[in-house]
Symmetry: C2
Subunit: 321 residues, 2 copies
């Protein structure tokens, strides 16, 4: 996050009266996530994360996110567990913002993932997909294929400033994906943002997943395509086939892909690369400079997009039939 | 702080091998302080703060700061206690920066201090002054009266942009303070930055002092003058005499001021107001916009400076003889 909103100790103490988690010992703003203000709380009962939802997260989506975390926790996934208020609700208000408290999850995120970590995240992703199968709420993907053109219209005027010829290149890639994007693959709840900073490990063992604020209903294999983008490239933007194989194989030990998912994986990976290119390019041009939120260069995803465009079959990504 | 430098989990795990504090469970960047990068660490042994010293803190001053905290802890002051490395040193290196680990201090800082909190900080400041009497290291004040002109020269060209007539006003106040600044008052180690965000309370009781990175040797009563600036004004910049009285009286229950300190307190308070005006004005014009570090408006200290200029005697600040 970032801390966009400070909280007075008086307001926080009063807010905590709505919960059964003891009295406040300390709280510190933490520099994690980019959408919300997050605080680490210590109370006489334990450690928690307090999140104030800033305007980038839609208030009407909060029940989906929080009940999903509750559902996944109840199904044995290690993820932040929302703390219920005394009135039975999961969402309250603090500093004029929607606010929630979740359990604190131990673990560190891996700055330079190895093949071992890729296997860990593949397996956890498949478990998430199975554990959310009977989750009753749903939310459409706000950054799905049908939203990319809208984003593109806001940035295409600046595309040539990123690199010459980019406007035509992206326009043609977007048009192709819009025409070919599959509609019939198995659907479910996807995390949709399972980057290394959202996956914790302790001593090499995956200890939990966080940040469900992009979660939505979409094709399960698209979530896997996002992970290939997020976990399987090296610092020089080369695709590490061993990592891809590890991630995909570990996923399939829990949830085997069907033939259609297998065939469409290269297109889904192209789509995921374009989606992150779009949002990063948008943020690049539209976000203020800040010491707290690091702007990510959109070129990284342009290079990944170009890589995936050369891929014809999923085995070139490490998926064995 | 802020987090200016990220740390990889590998580098951190290796760094922790130099300490006897168990193995890493988690670490999070925290948004506290403005000079350094701070992380909250959880290990199998407990909770700690890891600080990476960024360039604004001089490396040669670190032994003073860390040994002071160690000295104060050993003398019963609640403050962060540096953790000794296996090799006996307090300072190591991480991510190409000097780094230290200190104990985590519970407590919250008070956004809107009451008279009660002012009394608490007055007493704690006096205890700090007594506890550091036999501390053997010393450090001169890098933001003392002799440094203000240097700061002033960097900002005076922009003074009229703050408010009309300000250049003459500050020049004349600075000249007066340079001429009259006392040299003979009791000296010792001062905190020099004991603002509300550096003082923790739990359930109304002072639980600790943090951030000793401006500590130095100077007049003890000047530290008190800084606290009058930091704690005894209301949001409308009016001086709260009851708070001033509470802070000064509580201080004197532990360390009574002598007659000279009594007489010079109004001048010291003027000096402290000018010192914070100078650094805030400098930062106002010279710091980049950032979501993480909030720039503080120098006008606040101009108004405090003007208030203290009207004060002739310490009893007008709440100091009873």
């Amino acid at each position: 996050m970032a801390v966009y909103t400070d909280i007075s100790e008086e307001a926080l103490a009063e807010f905590l009266h709505q919960y059964d988690i003891g009295t406040l010992l300390s709280y510190r703003g933490i520099t994690e996530g980019v959408e919300n203000s997050n605080f680490m709380l210590h109370t006489t009962v334990g450690h928690f994360i307090l999140t104030l939802y800033e305007k980038r997260v839609k208030q009407e989506d909060l029940p989906f996110f929080l009940h999903l975390m509750q559902h996944l926790s109840a199904h044995g996934m290690a993820c932040p567990q929302p703390v219920m208020r005394r009135d039975g609700h999961l969402i309250g208000h603090l500093a004029q913002r929607p606010a929630a408290i979740v359990s604190f999850l131990e673990g560190v995120w891996i700055r330079r993932p190895t093949v071992h970590h890729c296997a860990g995240v593949g397996q956890a992703l498949a478990r998430l997909h199975l554990a959310s199968q009977d989750f009753i709420l749903s939310r459409s993907n706000g950054l799905g294929v049908s939203d990319w053109r809208h984003l593109w219209q806001k940035i295409r005027g600046q595309a040539e400033a990123i690199t010459a010829g980019l406007e035509d290149e992206i326009e043609s890639e977007l048009a192709l994906l819009e025409q070919t994007w599959p509609q019939h693959l198995p659907q479910g709840v996807i995390h949709a943002d399972l980057f290394p900073d959202n996956v914790f490990f302790i001593a090499g063992k995956l200890s939990g997943l966080i940040d469900f604020y992009f979660a939505c209903n979409d094709m399960l294999a698209y979530d896997l395509a996002i992970c290939l983008n997020a976990w399987c490239f090296e610092a020089d933007f080369s695709y590490n086939l061993t990592k891809g194989h590890a991630l995909l194989s570990a996923y399939q030990t829990v949830r085997p892909l069907d033939q259609q998912e297998h065939e469409w994986l290269p297109i889904l990976a192209r789509g995921a690369a374009l989606r992150f290119f779009m949002t990063r390019a948008y943020d690049w041009f539209h976000t203020e400079i800040s010491g707290q939120v690091v702007k990510k260069n959109p070129m990284e995803y342009l290079r990944k997009s170009r890589f995936f465009r050369q891929i014809k079959r999923a085995d070139e990504l490490g998926l064995l039939s």
